[in-house]
Amino acid sequence: MSKRILIIDDEDDIREVAQLSLEAIRNWQVLTARSGREGLRCAGAERPDAILLDVMMPDMDGPATLQQLRANPATQSIPVIFLTAKVQSADRRRFANLGVQAVISKPFDPLRLAEQVSVALGWE
């Protein structure tokens, strides 16, 4: 079943690789946003099935973006997965507590990214 995924990351290359990965491997429909604000707008407009959200971003970081997503009834139920280069267990716990469904560490394996998302969101 094709999914619509919103990727919010300030790194163009990563955004592109991730998008390519999800599209090529699972043929999912991928939306991208280069910042938290853009991501909020996109999420509100497009209502994706899930959001892959980078943690460290300028202006509005991942947690702040998540808070906004949760604050908006239109987006509050969209599952969010953090993509982060911070892989310490303390960070993982902190992120989990924020209400995200999973944390996927960078660098990720592009061939397994879609699978990780599916498992985390119970799509498999």
Partner: protein
């Protein structure tokens, strides 16, 4: 007198002087031979005058010769009369030219006189002869001589016609003198004693004997003269003489009787007096026979020994004597029997009660009656007193010896000085201390033992002491000094005591050499000064807390750090002054203060995440150590050492941020690179030429390696800087091993390596993440270095208080010289390993760090070409003990457990069921809502991080629904409530994962109870 008479008569014959021959003209003259015999008898008697003569042989010889001659003269003359012959001795020396006198030949000694001479001569020869009963023949012969003389006198007076004796009056007189001389020569003779003694018999004899001889003689003479003169006839004369004799003898008897009676009265009186004394005497008087039996005893015996007189008399005296004294007493009795007196003899006599009394004896024998007169004095008390005195003396001597010994062994010098300040007694220590010999010290002025400059003052001190002699320390300013013989000085401490001795007060000084103490004090002072300098210059604040928590010491840095003066800290409560509030502004209760806790339990504490507060209200991050001080096994205080770690925190923060940024910034491009390469290499973006494909695979492999390297570097850095905290808990070893094996199984399968696990069912106390990381690292290595088709085995077994893990491979092995280094950073057996095997060189360093932080050990054993085994140990853990399960859980509260992790879910379910709860388990929030609505559980245990509807969303949904609103919810999460972004207002309790059985059941019970 005999010699004088003899000489005069002999001279009279030689010179023919008639007067000298008869002394009275007209009377019969003494014969010349008689005169010569008198001379010899007189000489003999003179030479035998005393018994001492026996000791002088010359005197004895002369006496015997003279006596023999006298006897011979008498015997020869008698022989002439008997035989009727003339031996020619009658005129041997002097011619009797007058012819015969009477019937006797001229010059011949008359027969009675001859007989008397024989008696005199024999008496002189037998002078010392005596019978056993002390009868002496000489005394008998002396009586014969006297009787012979008396016969001569009667003849001369009455003019016997029948028995003419022919004895001259001077001869008769001389014979009487000789008779007396014979008796008197041995006064101890019985007759001599009878005549010369003090007894009644002797007195009566002396009084009556002369009268009984003289009076009849005189009366007879008067009667004879009267009858011759014709004054009266024979009848009248006889009657008159008888009458006068009767009158005179009666008168003499009466006088004598009166005298005797008087004597007898006096004797009786004396005897009565003696008897009284005998009776009253406190001393024991007795008369004892030579046979050893008492004859007479005074009452003192009965009083002293308790026996009656009859009892005492019944047996021999020796029976009463102490066995030990019996031999000496018998010897003493023997001496007495031999006539020797006993003076001050002591023995012990038995009393009736069996005890013994000491007696002191004086005794004298009375051999005539074979009696012993003895006086015994009871000296038992005196003996006892003497024994007591001896004992006391011995005791005193022992005490004195002890005193001497103590004195000599005393560790301090002890000297005693008289009031003049001269030393009269010293002990060995004084000799040692001052270097003088004892002989030099005795008599020396005590001032000699102190330095010259202090002597004058000392004299005043000494005199002052006598004004108030009491035990006290001697005072000196600033210190007392002693002076040795060699002039050197040393510090002393002296205590003085007055000693009363023979009417004067002496002063005893105890001298203690305090050189070592002074040295120690100086060292201590120096040490204190140094300590003070160190403490004052220390960069850390140092405070000491007393057991009651009060600050008893603070160094200047401590005061400076908290913005106060030292005086404000000392005496105050450090916690209240500088530790009263937590970093978050909440009050810091005293009961939680690590320093005060250390005071209670004596355990050291190190804290690095708190703040200290300054006087102005500001705070600084502080690191402090609380070290208990133990004295006599009790906590005597705590030293708190603290420092301001503001700068360090800042540096650490910078470092953390740097590492974080570096980690992020490295990973970010790597993410793009790895993703791009991975997509390209996967062929999803189109087929590539084989070489290009190969290059892409190289790039992917090395990108992965770079990622691992970055992860490992960051891991080990965090670990060694203490950023990673261990969450120790009891872990089931088989579970850990199984998880590690499952993680590594894909790698093993790709390498065609068989994984084998055989852990014992034991538990360790460990952080499961860390141990899992260690196991996977070691397994990864083992797999990487195993040949295809090889086996890697992992085992765990209990060894004492530890669990030993073993990971064994069949790889190439590690050379011995490298086996120690492989746990170092970037240390690999072969430099190419990192390239060929994809290792970072940090895996074993990370393992070692993790194991060591668990207080375990890690090492490897290997044989090149055979394989390697890696070992590590962990402290044994206690398996959580479930309470006894109840027989059935029906009717028990229903618990709804919601957790997406099947392992966690199963664990909680089993745990609760063991405790008797009924459990419904679900894997998602949606299911939880559904089941909660349907089953109305008593309580819900809810995981937070779940796919789909997470814990918070589930909670919100449950609280919205009427049916489930009041069901208490217990959150089970890896997070703490503080870490949570949402308020846990709607939850009843919060449990941190991993769940502890005790906490879980306790929380559930409380929640159910509150409901």
């Amino acid at each position: 007198m005999s010699v004088v008479v003899g000489l005069l008569v002999f001279t009279g014959w030689v010179l023919d002087v008639p007067l000298l021959k008869s002394f009275v003209p007209g009377l019969t003259a003494m014969k010349a031979n008689t005169a010569l015999a008198f001379i010899l008898a007189g000489v003999s008697l003179g030479m035998s005058q005393c018994e001492d003569a026996e000791r002088d042989p010359v005197r004895r010889f002369v006496a015997l010769v003279c006596a023999s001659v006298v006897t011979a003269m008498g015997l020869l003359t008698l022989g002439e009369y008997v035989l009727g012959k003339d031996f020619g001795i009658d005129q041997l020396f002097v011619r009797d030219w007058r012819g015969s006198s009477g019937p006797f030949p001229p010059g011949r000694i008359p027969p009675i006189a001859s007989l008397n001479l024989v008696a005199v001569g024999t008496g002189l020869l037998l002078l010392d002869v005596k019978s056993k009963k002390d009868r002496r023949p000489t005394e008998f012969l002396a009586l014969l001589v006297g009787l012979g003389g008396l016969l001569g006198l009667l003849d001369m007076s009455y003019d016997f016609k029948v028995l003419y004796t022919g004895m001259a009056p001077n001869g008769i007189l001389t014979f009487w003198v000789l008779a007396v001389g014979l008796l008197g020569a041995r006064p101890q003779g019985r007759l001599a004693k009878l005549l010369s003694g003090e007894g009644v018999g002797a007195v009566t004899t002396r009084r009556l004997l002369p009268a009984s001889i003289v009076i009849p003689l005189f009366l007879g003479w008067l009667r004879a003269q009267g009858q011759r003169m014709g004054l009266f006839g024979t009848e009248f004369g006889t009657g008159l003489m008888v009458l006068v004799n009767i009158v005179i003898l009666a008168a003499m008897v009466l006088v004598t009787a009166q005298s005797l009676d008087k004597t007898d009265v006096e004797r009786r009186r004396a005897e009565a007096e003696l008897q009284r004394f005998f009776t009253l005497s406190l001393d024991m008087l007795c008369i004892m026979g030579f046979d050893g039996y008492f004859k007479r005893l005074n009452p003192a015996w009965e009083h002293t020994l308790g026996f009656t007189a009859e009892e005492l008399r019944a047996g021999p005296f020796l029976n009463l004597v102490h066995p030990d004294d019996r031999e000496a007493t018998a010897a003493e009795l023997k001496r007495l029997s031999a006539g020797l007196e006993t003076i001050r003899f002591e023995n012990r006599c038995r009393t009736k009660d069996g005890s013994y009394r000491w007696l002191l004896w004086n005794a004298a024998p009375y051999r005539g009656q074979r009696l012993i007169y003895a006086v015994a004095h009871d000296i038992t008390e005196r003996k006892r007193t003497e024994a007591e005195q001896v004992r006391l003396l011995q005791k005193t001597e022992a005490a004195e010896a002890k005193f001497r010994s103590l004195l000599e062994l005393a560790p301090d010098g002890i000297l005693i000085a008289n009031p003049a300040g001269n030393i009269v007694l010293v002990n060995r220590k004084v000799e040692e201390l001052f270097g003088y010999r004892r002989e030099e010290l005795l008599g020396m002025a005590e001032e000699m033992l102190i330095p010259g400059r202090l002597r004058k003052g000392h004299t005043e001190v000494r005199l002052g002491y006598y004004a108030h002699p009491e035990t006290r320390a001697m005072h000196g300013a600033p210190d007392l000094l002693g002076r040795r013989k060699d002039g050197s000085e040393f510090p002393v401490e002296i205590s003085l005591s007055p000693v009363q001795s023979e009417g004067e007060i002496l002063v005893m000084a105890v001298v203690h050499d305090i050189t070592e103490r002074k040295r120690a004090e100086d060292s201590l002072h120096e040490l204190r000064r140094q300590n003070e300098l160190i403490l004052n210059s220390a960069g850390e604040g140092i405070c000491r807390l007393a057991p009651d928590g009060r600050c008893t010491f603070a160094n200047p840095t401590a005061a400076r750090l908290v913005g106060r003066e030292v005086d404000e800290l000392v005496g105050g409560d450090l916690h209240a002054i500088a530790h009263h509030t937590r970093p978050d502004g909440s009050p810091y209760a005293e009961v939680d203060c690590p320093a005060l806790l250390a005071l209670k339990d004596g355990k050291a504490r190190c804290v690095s995440d708190e703040v200290f507060w300054r006087k102005d209200g500001s705070s600084f991050p502080a690191e402090y150590i609380c070290t208990p001080i133990r004295e006599n096994n009790q906590v005597a205080g705590v030293v708190v050492t603290f420092r301001d770690i503001t700068e360090r925190r800042s540096v650490e923060q910078m470092k953390d941020e740097f590492i974080s940024v570096v980690g992020h910034e490295l990973r970010t491009p790597l993410t793009s690179i790895r993703g791009a390469l991975g997509l390209l290499a996967s062929g999803h973006l189109g087929e590539l030429p084989a070489k290009s494909q190969r290059m892409l695979e190289v790039a992917v492999t090395n990108t992965d390696r770079l990622v691992r390297l970055i992860n490992d570097v960051l891991d080990i850095e965090r670990m060694e800087s203490g950023k990673v905290s261990l969450t120790k808990q009891p872990c089931n070893v088989p579970d850990l091993v199984e998880q590690a094996v499952e993680v590594m199984r894909p790698l093993a399968e790709r390498a065609n390596v068989v994984l084998s696990a055989s852990p014992e069912p034991v538990w360790v106390e460990a952080d499961p993440d860390g141990i899992l990381q260690t196991l996977t690292n070691l397994l990864s290595n083992a797999i990487k270095f195993s040949p295809s088709g090889g086996t890697v085995s992992v085992a765990a077994q209990r060894q004492g208080n530890e669990v030993l893990f073993q990971i064994k491979d069949q790889g190439r092995g590690i050379p011995p010289e490298k086996i120690e280094r492989i746990f170092g950073r970037f240390q690999q057996v072969d430099a190419s390993d990192s390239r060929q095997r994809g290792g970072t060189g940090l895996g074993l360093a990370i393992c070692r760090s993790i194991v060591q932080r668990h207080r375990g050990r890690i090492w490897a054993e290997s044989q090149v070409g055979v394989g390697s085994t890696f070992f590590f140990t962990l402290p044994i853990g206690q398996e959580p003990q479930p309470e006894a399960p109840e027989s059935h859980n029906a009717g028990k509260p229903l618990v709804l457990v919601c957790d997406d992790d099947p392992s966690d879910r199963r664990t909680v379910q089993e745990l609760l069921e063991r405790r008797g709860y009924r459990v419904a388990a679900v894997a998602s929030g949606e299911e939880a809502i559904e089941q909660a609505t349907a089953q109305k559980p008593a309580i819900i245990v809810l995981d937070l991080m779940m796919p789909g509807m997470n814990g918070w969303e589930t909670t919100a949904a449950l609280k919205e629904r009427e049916e489930t609103r009041n069901i208490p919810i217990v959150i089970s999460s890896l997070l703490s409530p503080e870490e949570s972004s949402q308020s846990p207002a709607h939850v009843t309790a919060w449990l941190r994962k991993p769940l502890e059985e005790g906490s879980l059941t306790q929380v559930l019970e409380m929640a159910l109870h509150e409901q």
